[in-house]
Symmetry: C2
Subunit: 444 residues, 2 copies
């Protein structure tokens, strides 16, 4: 009696990565690691599972409900991490003596959230975070901007815009207007500006946040400031004169724009947008959002900001910091739209076909020879018909097929078929590597 | 009232990776990806969580007990994967039409097992698997050997040995001796050869497996064959003449050794060891184990073999295959012993120190300039005393410090301090990149 087959299925809200998307995702993650490292960020890793008390209440009620939480075989209350920030806070507090400050880390790893899958989101996704902790210095804020810029640029984007703000300027204004205690309400109303327009926000500020009409007007004038960063900063300076919080915010933003330009960041890629207010309570200084000019609707693909204290729930040592996170899945979706993702499902451009099973020694040797020259090369495992092997090569997206049968072995030559151009040439082995390099360059 | 602090702790059996070990692990994983890709293996990924029925009973009773299993918020019986083979079987069955065969994949990902932590094992660890499925061809078995060889070699090992066997030769012998139905018992006894010696195994074969003394002698003569692969293969051929299974095993092994040598694998790195019998029932053909000559006690660091059918529990389509898995944690432990792991906890060799907070523009610019030349460079975020910054540089393992204050800015030069040699030099900016490259090469 044979057992009935088990239906092969992934859990609701989870997905497999087949080779083409897996290669695209790996490529972006490699670029992220390379850029983060180039700035001196070190990798760290933390366990997927944490004590539930480490995670609970750190991301709000919604986040608590979405936890994959259970009791392990040892009776411990455990849960899968829902982000990389909370584990980093726990990590920083636990290892503070070893790591010291300032401490710069990156962390690329999956997180899990039992989200409503109808929104097209997955319950497992990879986050790519980087942070500098243990310093208040604006140099770290500026560097965060540079990292975001160089990251997007290294991934292959040219038309993107990083929108920057600093929570201190709004805080300064609210202090000046006597609304400092109502900042959460003001931010919530401002967040709807794009949706409900100026009049809608005005009404909400007066009715729900109980501001005067004049206060609401000033808040909205502020939020709707536009122009070049220098123009906006000059206006802000006038509006905030005499308020230390606001002036500090303006000074930090001014230095950020000046230094970024000095370091070679194209000015059109960085905008000052005083309306962005990411992370209502969490972020306390500079804020970053990044949009693709040709696909703004996909939302911010790299966001972050400065915070006052990373690990206050775990240690009494204050750890201010600044960082951001690359939205890998959004980015992949955008890259798919733009045709930036290769359709090939093989990381090798060259396929050595096999015609004569008794010459596996030669096919194997030539494959290794090409690899040693830096050319990724697959050797087809079975001696099948040429048509079948070339069909396989086409389907997988190989660029070249290297072919030899008894005639070629007798003559000491290899046939090279360019699978896109359809052309075929014959070269002696001594010229094979150069010939393949030339073909790959010309058809790329 | 402030809340009491939460104790920052990892779960029992789990660990954080601090920068130095995290960098070492990333480096090995990058080499693994590079080598796997060079042979045309594509990455895939599968969810950490699977339906429990997918995982249950696939790794034996021990494995079932070690599952992190729970009921999710949707009432599903789910569990964290305990290896990458079972998810690959599910994946292959589910996506067979899309992926086609032959299919070559690699998968680098964490797995979870609630193991007894007293053995010094962790409950979360990364596996690095590669497999070729959908072919019986010996070319794939030979390639698996090449991949293992090139992987260890690319990681930086020179003194290692891959021990190869083929289950068919033992099966052939057992068929000839009329013991085919008792192979599990014979294997179990043979597995103890190193521990209890020839006499112990002889006794166990006669008493527990109920062989005759002559049968037991022949089995042991077989398992204790030694010499060069060709010598052993010639002896095996004599012993197995007339038995098709055994002859096929010998022929495949003969071709493997011949082709591997022809493809340039140093013969002393591959040994034929008929006593290894990894994966009692799972593996059905070629078997691989890899040992470090200078640390054999750490066990096999890369093991695998050929199997008849990957996904028989999920699909009626037969998927034979061959593959192996790199034991990342064992390898890291060995590399630590051999001093092969860098002590630096920064991926950047260069630290730009900061002395004058008003010149963040220049420090930031020079940092980006060096990065664009391919030199990983950290800019210290705060304008602190030189001693403090150099102490930071020492602790992290930076190689060079790039220093400038008002004098240097006025003269248009940079000071470069070699932190190992203790020497310091002054160069104009136009020579900075070349100077740094020279210093890094000379002290590496």
């Amino acid at each position: 009696m044979t057992k009935p087959l088990i239906t092969p299925a992934t859990l609701k809200g989870f997905r497999d990565y087949l080779p083409a998307p897996a290669m695209a995702r790996e490529a972006i993650m490699e670029v992220a690691r390379r850029v983060y490292r180039s700035y001196g960020f070190s990798p760290i890793d933390t366990p997927a599972l944490e004590y539930t008390e480490v995670l609970l209440g750190k991301g709000g009620e919604e986040s608590d409900k979405q936890l994959f939480r259970f009791t392990d075989n040892g009776g411990r209350d455990v849960a899968l991490r829902f982000d990389l920030t909370v584990p980093f806070a726990r990590f920083a507090a636990q290892h503070l003596n070893e790591i010291g400050v300032p401490f710069k880390r990156y962390h690329l790893a999956p997180v899990w959230r039992g989200e409503n899958t109808q929104r097209g989101r997955y319950r497992e996704f990879v986050q790519c975070d980087f942070d500098t902790i243990g310093t208040d210095s604006n140099a770290a804020d500026i560097e965060t901007l540079l990292v975001i810029h160089d990251l997007l640029s290294a991934i292959g984007f040219e038309r993107f815009q990083i929108r920057v703000n600093n929570r201190l300027v709004l805080n300064g204004l609210l202090e000046k207007l006597g609304l400092a205690d109502r900042s959460a309400g003001v931010l919530r109303a401002l967040d709807k500006l794009h949706k409900i327009g100026r009049d809608g926000v005005l009404a909400e500020l007066c009715e729900r946040v109980q501001t005067t009409g004049e206060q609401a007007d000033q808040v909205l004038d502020f939020a709707q400031l536009s122009g070049s960063p220098v123009e906006i900063l000059n206006r802000l300076e006038e509006m905030l004169t005499g308020n230390a919080t606001g002036e500090l915010g303006v000074a930090r933003l001014r230095e950020l724009f000046q230094v970024a330009t000095h370091a070679g960041i194209p000015p059109q890629r960085v905008e000052l947008d005083v309306s962005i207010a990411r992370g209502l309570d969490y972020y306390t200084g500079t804020i970053y959002e990044t949009f693709l000019i040709d696909d703004p609707k996909i939302g911010s693909i790299c966001s972050g900001g400065r915070y006052d204290n990373l690990a206050g729930l775990f240690t009494s040592q204050k750890l201010p910091g600044v960082g951001a996170s690359l939205g890998l899945d959004r980015l992949l979706a955008a890259m798919e739209t733009f045709g930036m993702i290769a359709q090939a499902s093989t990381p090798a451009p060259v396929l050595v076909t096999q015609f004569d099973a008794t010459r596996v020694d030669e096919y194997t040797r030539i494959g290794r020879l090409l690899r040693q020259a830096g050319l990724n090369t697959e050797v087809f495992p079975d001696a099948r018909g040429v048509g079948k092997q070339l069909k396989y090569a086409d389907k997988k997206g190989f660029r070249l097929a290297v072919i030899a049968g008894s005639d070629e072995f007798a003559a000491g030559v290899w046939q090279v078929k360019d699978l896109r151009a359809g052309s075929q040439s014959q070269v002696p082995e001594s010229q094979l590597i150069d010939h393949i390099r030339t073909l790959l360059q010309s058809s790329s």
